[in-house]
Each structure stands twice: as structure tokens, then as C-alpha cells.
């Protein structure tokens, strides 16, 4: 008998291969220009955005629009049959903010605990979506007061179904133009994110991701690693290799050109122009989701992607080793046609979650173990530390531009690299940013009924990681998320001091999106950080997101 061979050799081989070619999620929320890591191709489990708002047309009653978007892999309009998607929905009354002075760690912890209790006893429902090789999608509506039911629809085609209670539900599963529009390379430049500009693999040390260089909105003098590289190409770019370290910054001021202008790390260009996503879009009556639509005014929603386990996949692969096996498999396929759907969650492994824009990219730092969906309460102390870290970077940049910041940076004149391990140390610096009410822009109708709806605060927004759609508003961020919302710029505006004036008006969530502000600022280029609108107009009717660009072999409706 031959002895077994040195299998260790193979252990290393197998491990290295899997590290280089399997598709883990980048945790792009929002989506990146490309799969950020060099060894990670775009894949359908990588969730991008969770949109949601009350439907504008109230002639058919009160409806909720929901849209989960993700990478268009294997291609636009063709969904990966190994991936199961869940859109989880939990209607609740609007949370009542505790009275009195709550700008303390203890009151924040108490607030988070109260929310945690609510979400831990979550009995909400979900829409579970699976697809088959025949271009069909099965949507199972489970756990809602309106009754369980399932519908099989053709992909890339808007469809309607009627719930057991007679409610009309609109559904679309397939390819669309990406509704997200922003300068993501600019965002990555602002956080000195190596994998966006250089060849960095998912398996490499985490300190090669966000380099130990201060976060900043303005180019730092001498930061050659991030001041100079071009924005990467759209998909699978041939990025330059990461130069040898150390990956630090030794300067002490912002870069200024010969005219004394700062250089913006943002270009204002739409990195997703002309590119598509795959999406699940729904329009559902609120009364289907809850028995108490009059009191349950906030629809909390988030998306999850689950990938079929290898062992369950193998069970579906016929044995083709012998001729008779081949005959049997061929014969069986004649009749089955791969038209089945596997909805059993025990056959899948959760890969990605998505609720709030920038929750992954800015706050959770794309960590796999922070893919907790709504159940991200344990991250509260981390978020305080992270806000402190971001504040030391963005706060001084905002001050340099002559704008007021909520972050207490003690008057430093340049972005500073500082990390916190103890939220008690970070909290005094961030508390104003955390607890200030975020002003809505003066011209934006967000509260059409003029109800007593409190403005949201950062402390309310990021925990739990859900899109909390306020049905009494228009659902513009942070009261939901409409397709036309420029959430990237609004996220940056969280670092402004909303109790003060910005260019003659109260600072608000759209301040940094005003061209006039940039025209007057000592900066080049004179542009808002992100584009103001999508590359294609949105539709007035369902499915709202624009039809896909004729790319990736897909030119659907």
C-alpha cells in the first residue's frame, strides 16, 4: 500500500488559493467603484444600499417603498442562484427621546439599552428572496400581520401580487442603474484607504486598509501616498503595487497651492455613473406590515445576504463520474430545468448586512464580525471611539474652511491622528456631534404634515444599523432614504455645528452640497464633495430606479 503523502503541502496550497479567489463581501455600503480588494471580485452577496421611503402617491393608501441593491454579479439582470436575500422589516412607534440633559455616556447607554431590548424581542417579518437558473425569483413574505404568502416572478420585470388580506404588493427583482451617486474615491482618499488605490488583498494586515495618517477633507502637505494616485478604474482595475512603508505622515499642515488654496480630496465626480446594480424593489402597504399603522409610524428595515453552504450546494450537484450517472443526470435535468428554490436558512451562511449608508464603510470599518444588521448594539462604545477618531481628522478640516464644527479639537490647525480605546475619553470631544439635532435643509420638504417630529441626531441614527423610515415624513435621509438623497455629503455634514451659522444660514445637512459655499472657499476644485444628482433620472412610478445601462451583456427593459 502506498503511504499517504505530505499533505501539509496541500494545506498551504488550498488556504492560499481560497484567500486569493473566493468572493467575500467587501462590505461596501455604499458600493465601491470596484471590488476594493485586489483579490476579491464583485459578487452578488456584497450588499450596497438599503433605500426606503413612504410612497409619494398616497392615492392607493399608505405604501412603503423598499429597495435593496447589491453587486450585479454574475451580471446585470442575472442573479446568483447561490445567494438568498432577506429584507427584514420591523414597524414600531416613533421612539420617544428621553427628556432632560442626555448628553452623557450613561444616558446614551440607557438609550441604547432601551432600543436593544426592543430589537432583541423583534418579532417582525421578512421578505426572503431566492432565484433559480430559469430567470425567476421567489419572494416569500413571512411573519407579517397581512399573512404569509409567496410569489414567483420573472426577473427584470415589474410584477404585482395580492396578499391573503387583499393588499396589492409590487415587486421587481433584477438589474437597474445604480441609484447611488457619489465620489467614493474621494471618500477613500479622505480616510487614506490603501486598498482603493493600491493592490491590497483582503487577507493582508488590517493596518494596510486605513493607513495611520490623519483623516482629512483637505490634502495633507507631503502625503504622497494619497495625494497623487489617480482614481481607480471602474472594475477590476490594474492598481499599482503598494509602495514600501512606513505608511505614515510626517507633515504638520494642509497642502496649499501657489494661490493659497487648499486641495479638496473630493472631486465631486460620480464614480458610479454608467454602472448598474442588481436590486430587489418592493412597494407594500404599511397595513400589510403592521396591525397598527396609525401608531407604528417608523418602519425599520435592513437587508441581509446569505450564501449557500458548500455542503448543501454539493447535494444539488449530480454525480457525473460514470456514463450511467451522466445519462441519469442529463435525463433528470430534462425534467427539472433547475427551477427549484432553496429557502431553508439553515442551508446558508450570512455574509453581509446593510441598513444605514456609511455604517460599514465609515463606522464599522468593513469588519466581517461587525456585520450584525440591526443587532449592532454592542458596537455603541466602538462608535463613540470611532467618531472621536474621525472628528480629529474631519473637524480641523472643517475649521480650516471657515465652517463651524461640532467636534472639540481644541483649536488644532491641522487634521490629527488619534485613536481611542476608552469611550469615556472620546465622549467629551464628540458629545456635541452625537447629540446635536441635525437641521434639515430649508428648501427640502421633509415633514409635509408639519407634525411634531424631532430632528434626528447622530446618536439616534447609527444604532441600530437600520433604515428607519418615518412614514409621516417624505423619507429623506435620515428619516428613511430616498433614491435622490445625496447621503455621502449629508454624512459629512454631521461634523458641522448645527447650532451655528454656515455661510449666513443655519448649518444643515445640505450645507456642504451648496455650490455657493465652495465658490467662496479657499479650495480647489470648487465643487461639492459629491455629485448633486444621479446619472439617470429616477422614474416617477414603480420600480423607481432607472433602467440599467446596456452593460454586462444585459439590455433589459
Amino acid at each position: 500500500m502506498r503511504q499517504s503523502r505530505a499533505l501539509l503541502l496541500v494545506v498551504a496550497s488550498a488556504v492560499l488559493i481560497v484567500a486569493l479567489v473566493t468572493g467575500a463581501a467587501d462590505h461596501n455600503d455604499p458600493n465601491a467603484v470596484n471590488a476594493i480588494f485586489s483579490d476579491n471580485r464583485p459578487n452578488g452577496a456584497d450588499l450596497y444600499d438599503m433605500f426606503g421611503h413612504p410612497a409619494d402617491d398616497r392615492s392607493r393608501g399608505e405604501n412603503v417603498v423598499l429597495a435593496l441593491t447589491f453587486a450585479d454579479a454574475p451580471q446585470t439582470g442575472v442573479l446568483d442562484t447561490d445567494v438568498l436575500y432577506r429584507i427584514r422589516i420591523y414597524p414600531t412607534p416613533r421612539p420617544v427621546r428621553p427628556s432632560g440633559d442626555n448628553a452623557s455616556v450613561s444616558s446614551y447607554v440607557a438609550y441604547v439599552r432601551a432600543l436593544k431590548d426592543r430589537f432583541e424581542t423583534f418579532k417582525g417579518g421578512e421578505v426572503r428572496v431566492t432565484t433559480n437558473a430559469k430567470g425567476e425569483a421567489k419572494l416569500s413574505f413571512v411573519g407579517f400581520p397581512g399573512g404569509n404568502f409567496a410569489a414567483v416572478v420573472k426577473q427584470n420585470t415589474a410584477a404585482a401580487a395580492t396578499s391573503p388580506g387583499g393588499q396589492r404588493i409590487l415587486m421587481y427583482v433584477g438589474g437597474r442603474d445604480d441609484a447611488f451617486f457619489n465620489d467614493l474615491p474621494g471618500f477613500f482618499r479622505s480616510i487614506n484607504y490603501g486598498p482603493e488605490f493600491y493592490k491590497v488583498n483582503l487577507t493582508q494586515p488590517e493596518d494596510l486598509r486605513e493607513m495611520p495618517i490623519p483623516k482629512t477633507l483637505l490634502a495633507l502637505e507631503g502625503n504622497g501616498l494619497f495625494n497623487d494616485p489617480e482614481d481607480p478604474a471602474e472594475v477590476n482595475p490594474d492598481k499599482p503595487p503598494l509602495p514600501p512603508g512606513p505608511y505614515t505622515w510626517k507633515g504638520n499642515r494642509y497642502y496649499k497651492d501657489e494661490k493659497g488654496n487648499y486641495r479638496f480630496v473630493y472631486s465631486g465626480r460620480d464614480a458610479r455613473a454608467g454602472l448598474n446594480v442588481n436590486a430587489i424593489i418592493l412597494e407594500v402597504p404599511l397595513a400589510y406590515f403592521t396591525k397598527s399603522p396609525r401608531t407604528d409610524r417608523v418602519v425599520n428595515t435592513w437587508g441581509e445576504s446569505w450564501v449557500l453552504k458548500a455542503s448543501d450546494k454539493v447535494d444539488t450537484i449530480p454525480d457525473r463520474s460514470g456514463f450511467t450517472d451522466k445519462v441519469a443526470a442529463w435525463f433528470s435535468n430534462m425534467f427539472s430545468g433547475d427551477g427549484s428554490f432553496d429557502e431553508d436558512l439553515t442551508h446558508y451562511k450570512r455574509v453581509d448586512t446593510d441598513g444605514l449608508p456609511f455604517s460599514d464603510a465609515a463606522l464599522s470599518e468593513r469588519h466581517d464580525d461587525r456585520q450584525l444588521g440591526a443587532d449592532n448594539f454592542r458596537l455603541a462604545p466602538h462608535f463613540i471611539n470611532r467618531f472621536g477618531h474621525l472628528g480629529w481628522g474631519f473637524g480641523p478640516s472643517i475649521t480650516a474652511l471657515g465652517l463651524p464644527t461640532c467636534f472639540d479639537h481644541s483649536g488644532v490647525t491641522v487634521s490629527t491622528l488619534r485613536f481611542y480605546k476608552d469611550p469615556l475619553h472620546a465622549f467629551p470631544r464628540v458629545k456635541r456631534c452625537f447629540f446635536q439635532e441635525l437641521n434639515m435643509p430649508p428648501g427640502v420638504v421633509w415633514n409635509p404634515k408639519r407634525l411634531n417630529i424631532p430632528l434626528r441626531r447622530a446618536a439616534d441614527i447609527f444604532i441600530p444599523n437600520v433604515n428607519a423610515i418615518d412614514m409621516d415624513t417624505t423619507g429623506t435621509w435620515p428619516f428613511g432614504r430616498r433614491f435622490e438623497d445625496q447621503v455621502a455629503t449629508r454624512f459629512l455634514s454631521v461634523f458641522l455645528d448645527h447650532t451655528k451659522s454656515c455661510a449666513g444660514a443655519p448649518c444643515n445637512l445640505e450645507t456642504l452640497g451648496q455650490q455657493s459655499l465652495w465658490n467662496a472657499a479657499p479650495i480647489e476644485p470648487k465643487t461639492p464633495p459629491n455629485p448633486l444628482r444621479n446619472d439617470k433620472p429616477f422614474l416617477r412610478n414603480f420600480p423607481y430606479m432607472a433602467s440599467p445601462w446596456p452593460a454586462g451583456g444585459y439590455a433589459g427593459q
Binding site: R5, I17, L20, D39, Q204, P244, K309
Partner: protein, 366 residues
Amino acid sequence: MNGRRLVMVAALPAALVAMIAMRGVATPRPSDYDAELARFSSADLRNRYLRATLTGDFGDYRLAEQALERELAASGASQALLLARATLAFKLHRLPKAKRDLALLPETDAVRALRADVALMEGRYADAARAYESLAATSPSWDNLARLAYFKSKTGDVAGADRLYAAAQDELTAKELRSYAWVEVQRGVMRFEHGRYAGALAHYERAERAYSGWWLVEEHRAEVLHGMGRTRQAVALYRKVVARTRNPELFGALAAILEDEQPEEARALYAEAGRLFAEQMRIYPEAAIGHALRFQLSRADAAPELVALARRNVALRPNAEAKLLLAQAYLKSSQPAPARAIIAEIATTPWRTPELARLQRELAAR
């Protein structure tokens, strides 16, 4: 029998005829292995590397190594390139070189895992065990679970190893079917080593379903089929794998099966195996020596340089597996005393394999 089944049964003969008629004209779907190999055809470092790890061919490894050195010269010693070079050196059993690069790298899970692999290869079992246990607890990825499983399989805890391999498989998704197949092979090998051939074959067949056309799976299937007495199937499979891989060890395995019935072909196969081993020894002696040694041990006559070769192997990787080969070399060279001493030395380590037990029995019977 329901209506659908009735239709299927009625249509079966027609389908068979159609299948047979189409055999000559239909283009067969490429195997998973071939499809993946085709994706690694370009000459950049990543593809060279992936191709080598997939084929196991020393020529491919040499191309990968050259591409890696070129990249290092062009862009400097980044952590990624250093880790890739350390991994490659480990795979080629160049342990000092792997350790040199590892010493330059920060302590990540990947670095800790590779350090533990080196410790195992050097016979530092306590160090390896500590690191594997720690990795499995703090970073229970499929590969770290598989590492610990392998360690347990070699130290006598076969049931524990199988549980860990199953846990590793549970971490894998449908996007990682090659890794799943690899773990299936490990589970099959464990059963094979303990004489449980039917169980081994079941695992190998499942590996083939997960990832079709992989020579690693096919040669293990051939091995167990031979063990089960299904020699014709084994020979057919070995012929296919040998033609594809030109792996000298498999030439030797095929020759051993054919030795009685087709001695002339067996002689030619042995000769080819010897020639190919010589070539491998010229390219990567550290990686080839253990396999060449096993080949020599499998031959009826002991080669004059057998013990020297086995000693050199132990010097390169002073672990129980290498020492076991040295003991076998001594025995084959009619030197039972040093063989006994080595076996006694191995018995002081946690290494507990069926191969060790077999040799202990053999020595006791002398």
C-alpha cells in the same frame, strides 16, 4: 409511481439512445479544474501562483517563484509579497527561508498560522498545537479549523479531527467548492489510513462532485479503488492522472499495480518515475526528497543511497514523519537497531499514526 415518474421511465430508452448518439458530437462541459486552470493562464504573479498551487507542478512553481522575485525587485518587499514568498518557501519545504521572511512580518492570523505550520514541519509539536488551538479559538476560519484537524489526525485523535474537518466544511460556502473538496479528501485520507476504504471512497466521490476533474481527488480515488480490489478502475484512473500531471509518485503507484501482470510496462513506468524524480530533485530538492524517498522505499530492492537520502530528509525537516521514513530506510537496509532507536524517539512525541503503529508491530515481530 406518480405521473411524472411514469413519463420519465417511458422516455428513458429514447434518452439513452439520444445520449449515445450525441456522445460524438456534443462538446463536453469542462471540469471545474479545467475551467479554473484556464482562468490562471496569464503570466502575472497572481495567476502564476494560483496555477502552481493548483497543478502542483514543479515547473509551474518555478515560474511562480520567478514572477514573485521579479515583483519584489520591482516594487520592494511589501508585507503581501513577503508573506507570499514565505508561503511559497514553506510549500517547497524551504523552512529556513520561510522563517526568514516570517521574521520580517507583523503578527497577523495568517503569519501565526504559517509559523505554526513551520513548527509542525520542524517537529515542534507543542508549539504547533498551542498555535493551532489558539487560532481555532480566536479565528475559527475553515482553514484554521482544518489545520487543527490535521494535527489531531496525526496525533491519534481521529474522531476529533473528523469533527473539526466537518466544522471547517460548515464554514465554507458554495463559492469555495475546491476548498470543500480538499477537506473531503482529508476526511477520506484519514479513513483510508485506518483501512476504512468504503468510507474513504465515499468522501473522495463527494469531493469529485464538489469540484470535478481535480487530479488530487482522482489519484486518491485510484488509490482506494486499488485497495478495494477494483484494480481495473484504479489503473484507468491512474493512467489518466499520470498523463495529466506527470507526477513521478503516481507513475510509481501505477507501476506497483502493474508489476505482476504487465512487468514490462511497469519497468518502463518505474524508469520514467526515476527520471522525473531526478528532475524534481534538480529543481526543488527540499520539496522532492520526501516523495523520492517513499518511491525508493516502495521498490523491492533498497537503493544504496537510501539511508543517506533519508538522513538528508530528516535534516531538512526533523519531524516524526521524516524520522519514520528514516527508520524504514534502516529496516530496508537491514539495520533494525537504529530503526528501533528512531521509533522509540518518535514514541516520545505526540505523533500517533497507523504508519507508526505498523512499523512498531513489524519491529516487535523481528
